[in-house]
């Protein structure tokens, strides 16, 4: 039974989450709590389990031990819970994953019409609003293949926003982009952050983390090694592994 949300209830709560792929343990005792309006950045080397961790939050991956609560609703095998969570939690992928045979506008209205049963007019009006927000309204009638990577990713963000989620998950949103397009996507993410959208962002972009995050989580080998607000994290990291990682990442 979902608990009624209140100021004290965190938006996302992960308690002692463990996950295995066969014999390999990919998540070890992950405990994390995200409050409303909080912006969390998760960083760490490849293979540290950071993507897996956030993919457990919208059940694209299943955890075997521990509990995950989203707005008080526990994520279990119950389909109704999963569907509820996915409506309220949006995700932006590294590979954008726009649907190639639909126009930009249709990409954005697909979920609102199918899931929230909005009318075409209503959905399109809202979609155009969000396309303006990410500064790409003029491309509404093109197909994804006609847009650059940076444009596609901004469309993907707008697509998630059309479902008006309470939480946005970002899975390395700029890692597949050419360097000159990273800024346009980060700008959109910064503006969302400034509006206090609750977000968890897996990224290598430390500049973004420093500017916008409320707390930074460092993961390595499936564990949370360190968690701290940016000033503390960047200037006085406590764990030697964090220090090593920062020295490697911040050298360029």
């Amino acid at each position: 039974m979902p608990l009624p949300p209140d100021a004290a209830t965190p938006m996302i709560e992960m308690r002692h989450v463990n996950k295995w792929y066969g014999d390999f343990q990919v998540l070890k005792d992950i405990s994390l709590s995200v409050s409303k309006g909080e912006r969390v950045v998760i960083c760490g080397p490849s293979g540290s389990g950071k993507s897996t961790a956030i993919r457990c939050i919208n059940r694209l991956e299943q955890h075997q031990q521990g509990q995950i609560f989203v707005e008080g609703v526990e994520l279990t095998d119950k389909v109704k819970n999963i569907e509820h969570v996915r409506r309220e939690v949006g995700m932006v992928f590294q590979q954008f994953n726009l649907v190639p045979h639909l126009t930009i506008l249709d990409n954005l209205t697909l979920a609102p019409r199918r899931v929230r049963k909005q009318s075409r007019k209503e959905a399109e009006a809202r979609a155009m609003q969000y396309l303006e927000r990410v500064k790409i309204a003029e491309q509404a009638h093109k197909y994804p293949s006609q847009l650059s990577g940076g444009q596609q990713q901004r469309v993907a963000i707008a697509r998630s926003l059309c479902m008006e989620p309470h939480i946005l998950l970002f899975d390395e949103p700029t890692s597949a982009l050419d360097p000159e397009m990273i800024k346009e996507v980060l700008d959109v993410m910064v503006s969302l952050a400034e509006d206090h959208m609750t977000m968890i962002c897996v990224t290598h972009e430390m500049g973004f983390a420093r500017t916008v995050a409320d707390k930074i989580v460092f993961m390595d080998h499936g564990q949370i090694i360190e968690m701290a607000p940016p000033q503390e994290f960047f200037t006085a990291p406590r764990n030697p592994r964090t220090q090593l990682f920062l020295s490697q990442v911040l050298s360029h």
């Binding site: 996915r86 949006g90 995700m91 994953n97 649907v99 190639p100 697909l110 899931v115 293949s145």
Partner: protein, 221 residues
């Protein structure tokens, strides 16, 4: 007979041949539309169905793919009546062709679905779209676009294989040829002309279906 080919017999019977060609194409069309639809359902069942449904479909696919079409046809047309199910020859032909096409179609569609990047499904699911809707609106169109040429080939193959239904007296193009040659004793000429007609139909069918495919899937990939 002999070396002086005489093709007049064929021109006299042009109407019969055209009727036969029409039925051949009609049977192919029926098998194609119903077959592709069933193939999609069958592929979905193999990928996501309950264990028993999956096994049933896989068994069906293996049985059809490892037995000759003519035997399947005879089994349906001659075998079923002894169980009390009596069907006209044309229906048996359409049924056999559909059952045959579907078995190959299922493998083709399954390969197509497998070729769609998993990120597409994940994106759809993460938007809260139900798995069924994700399949229908996001994954399936991409799968069909990818394997469309293979499906077209299979449809053409089915159309050519349908010559066999003449053996249960269905009035298709081959049956028309059988009738004409038995009356005129011009077997070689008749079958030659009919072979050319099949070739023309195969090429036209392939061209037409590919053109339709280009319209449907144009520039969106």
């Amino acid at each position: 007979m002999g070396y002086d080919f005489d093709f007049t017999a064929i021109s006299n019977n042009a109407g019969l041949l055209l009727h036969g060609a029409g039925l051949t194409l009609l049977l192919a069309a029926i098998a194609a539309t119903i077959g592709v639809a069933l193939s999609i359902g069958g592929a979905a069942t193999i990928l996501w169905g309950h264990r028993w449904a999956r096994r049933a479909v896989q068994t069906y696919v293996e049985v059809i793919r490892n037995t000759p079409f003519i035997v399947q046809l005879f089994f349906i047309f001659f075998g079923l009546p002894s169980l009390g199910v009596r069907i006209p020859a044309v229906t048996a032909a359409a049924l056999a062709m559909t059952i045959n096409l579907t078995a190959y179609g299922i493998e083709i569609v399954r390969a197509g679905i497998g070729s769609v990047s998993p990120g597409q499904r994940e994106a759809g699911l993460s938007l809260g779209i139900s798995p069924v809707s994700v399949f229908i609106f996001v994954v399936l169109p991409q799968a069909i676009a990818t394997v469309y040429p293979a499906l077209v080939s299979q449809i053409v193959i089915t159309m050519l294989e349908s010559a066999v239904v003449s053996q249960i007296a269905v009035s298709d193009l081959t049956h028309a040829a059988d009738l004409i040659q038995s009356r005129t004793y011009r077997a070689f000429e008749t079958y030659f002309v009919v072979a050319v007609m099949y070739l023309a139909m195969a090429l036209t069918l392939r061209w037409a279906l590919n053109r339709a495919g280009r319209q449907l899937f144009a520039g969106k990939a």
